[in-house]
């Protein structure tokens, strides 16, 4: 009798052990598949968050390994640094210039592209989407050529249509403090257009046709339909576009480096460019750059958070 009980116990025990082992092995298996990505992200995305902060608390010798702890002194100094606030101003102007214009243009183009055509839509789409594959560096080079003060296409075009009398009267885009930022903004808006139009088009086409049909039965005209159906139902897409474009605009770098290198006279020195400049150009000041980078990251995160928080009220779903 005792033998039978203990053998049943033994069987139950080994069954539980197997289940337990299976559970562990399936968990392990999951983690194993995840490991490469998790390790990669931990080292190159998550750890830098911490390291960046510790760097910002020190003054670091340019090429040596000497670090001197200064705590939050760097941040305090930045608050009264005129050049720093200039870079903040430039960044904000830049974002204000690129994001609304880019999104509005994209929506207009998307609405036009959504119009059902029998043929040639592939051509229209290819031409309009194409900026998406252009790199920021090439964008900079192309626009530098277009903005050329002597033989540039843009100024020549403006002279031809009568905006100016001679090439010399038209703005010297990249060399003038007042125009340089606008010139960079135009280049970046152009480049982002491909991506924005694709997203906007998907959003527009995603709107259920039945809404439009019902409106047409009620006698609504085109403008009415756009205003009361397309736009409200496009709000999820607009929200997404706003988020992505703001984040991207705060990080735009390549075009600025190629077009103006932050100049003339810091007119296009955005926060990102300033950070790059501090860390890698001239005498590297990595502690300072890290502090600025942290402030920039905080700004972006807070803006994104505000956006998410207000989205609930603004965004309509079908």
């Amino acid at each position: 009798m005792p033998m039978q009980i203990s053998s049943i116990n033994l069987i139950l025990f080994s069954l539980h052990m197997t289940q337990f082992r299976n559970k562990i092995s399936s968990a392990l298996e999951g983690y194993l598949y995840l490991a490469p990505t998790l390790i990669g992200l931990s080292i190159f995305v998550f750890w830098p968050i911490y390291k960046s902060f510790t760097l910002s608390l020190n003054r670091i010798a340019p090429f040596g390994n000497q670090m001197r702890y200064v705590g939050l002194e760097t941040y305090a100094n930045l608050m009264t640094d005129a050049d720093y606030w200039n870079s903040v101003r430039v960044s904000l102007l830049f974002v204000l210039g690129t994001v609304p214009v880019g999104i509005i243009l994209a929506v207009l183009l998307a609405v036009a592209l959504a119009y059902p055509l029998n043929n040639l839509s592939w051509l229209h789409r290819t031409l309009i989407f194409v900026p998406i594959v252009i790199s920021s560096a090439v964008t900079g080079v192309l626009f530098r050529w277009i903005y050329h003060p002597v033989v540039g296409y843009l100024n020549y075009f403006m002279v031809q249509v009568g905006l100016f009398d001679r090439m010399q009267d038209a703005p010297n885009w990249l060399a003038t403090k007042d125009w340089a930022l606008i010139a960079v903004i135009m280049a970046v808006v152009w480049r982002q257009l491909g991506f924005n139009v694709i997203i906007a088009l998907a959003g527009v086409q995603n709107i259920d046709q039945s809404y439009y049909e019902a409106a047409q039965i009620d006698g609504a005209n085109l403008w009415h339909r756009i205003r009361h159906i397309t736009l409200p139902l496009l709000t999820p897409t607009l929200f997404f576009l706003l988020l992505i474009n703001i984040i991207y605009s705060f990080q735009a770098f390549g075009e600025i480096d190629v077009l103006t290198s932050g100049g003339p006279g810091r007119a296009t020195q955005t926060m990102v460019y300033d950070i790059y400049y501090d860390a890698f150009v001239g005498t590297p000041m990595r502690g300072l750059a890290s502090a600025k980078a942290y402030l920039l990251a905080l700004m972006v995160v807070i803006m994104s958070y505000i956006q998410f928080a207000t989205a609930q009220k603004q965004v309509h779903y079908q």
Partner: protein, 293 residues
């Protein structure tokens, strides 16, 4: 969000046959064509300028089409700066990053969609959260780290920080989630483990999504600017994007824009070709991100 089946294409590319070609149709055609040409204009300008004789490049008033087509700009670009080397570097860098990202993302997306293990959801949100971390925050510590590991100014330095891609995990997981559980059960009955199920069934089924992501990853890697700028020092290791930038600033004095445009076309070429070939997949992939995002 909207009720679309994830397998449907979010951008409608089918043509609808209509009865008549109306006046509005013509107007829209003209409008779109005009807009399209304006938008694509910079690229056309670069293309035509790269084939012009130097005299015509610097001529005023500026012209669009070359009077005489020549390859000398391309020769000048190729010879004066090591564009061949830049091209090789870009290909190696972009190719390896793409391969790495695809493999890592397939594995992780599989884990997050098909496999079951404790903490799965939490870990997924953590991975997703990494997308919120802006690049300017990470590139300085990464630079220091990569330099300390002796990988500065090398292929490893260009590639390793980018092998993990949270976006890839997100994108592929979206698709993997649509694979019916019955398939997995059936394969288990047949005695296949998770590994075999992944590579023999899931991956072949997901070719379209994986393809779209590959193109996306390749383009992003190809067009990278800030990281290659800071991590490479010598000419030998520069990528095309950095190469074109220095090429342009070196030539500014002599107004040699012909070779600069030729260099731009070289830097632009592979991305453009990839776009023309795979436009549909790329566009669908991006559109889906927007709808699910």
């Amino acid at each position: 969000m909207a009720m679309i089946d994830s397998l449907d294409s979010p951008i409608d590319t089918t043509t609808k046959r209509k009865e008549r070609f109306t006046g509005t149709d013509l107007a829209v055609h003209i409008l779109l064509l005009g807009l399209g040409l304006v938008i694509a204009l910079p690229i056309f300008i670069a293309f035509f300028t790269s084939f012009k004789l130097p005299a015509q490049v610097a001529s005023f008033p500026p012209t669009v089409f070359p009077q005489e087509w020549t390859l000398q700009n391309y020769q000048a670009a190729w010879n004066s700066t090591p564009f061949g080397r830049f091209m090789l570097n870009s290909i190696v860098q972009s190719g390896l990053i793409t391969i790495g990202q695809v493999i890592f993302s397939i594995l992780a997306a599989y884990a997050f969609s098909i496999l079951v293990f404790p903490g799965r959801n939490l870990l997924f949100y953590i991975v997703l959260g990494s997308l919120m971390v802006p690049f300017e925050l990470t590139f300085i510590p990464n630079f220091i780290l990569v330099s300390e590991w002796g990988m500065a100014d090398s292929y490893q330095g260009l590639i390793v920080p980018f092998i993990a891609s949270a976006f890839g995990v997100f994108m592929l997981r979206q698709f993997f989630l649509t694979i019916p559980k019955e398939l997995h059960d059936a394969s288990k009955i047949d005695g296949a483990g998770n590994w075999r199920f992944l590579w023999k069934i899931v991956v072949p089924l997901s070719k379209a999504s994986i393809g779209a992501f590959s193109i996306f990853a390749f383009l992003n890697a190809w067009n990278q600017y800030l990281w290659p700028l800071v991590i490479t020092k010598t000419f030998e290791m520069r990528t095309l994007q950095i190469g074109i930038r220095f090429f342009m600033s070196n030539l500014e004095r002599g107004q040699e824009w012909g070779p600069v445009m030729a260099g731009s076309m070289i830097a632009l070429g592979p991305a453009l070709i990839a776009f023309l070939i795979a436009q549909r997949q790329l566009v669908q992939g991006i559109a889906m991100t927007g709808l699910k995002g």
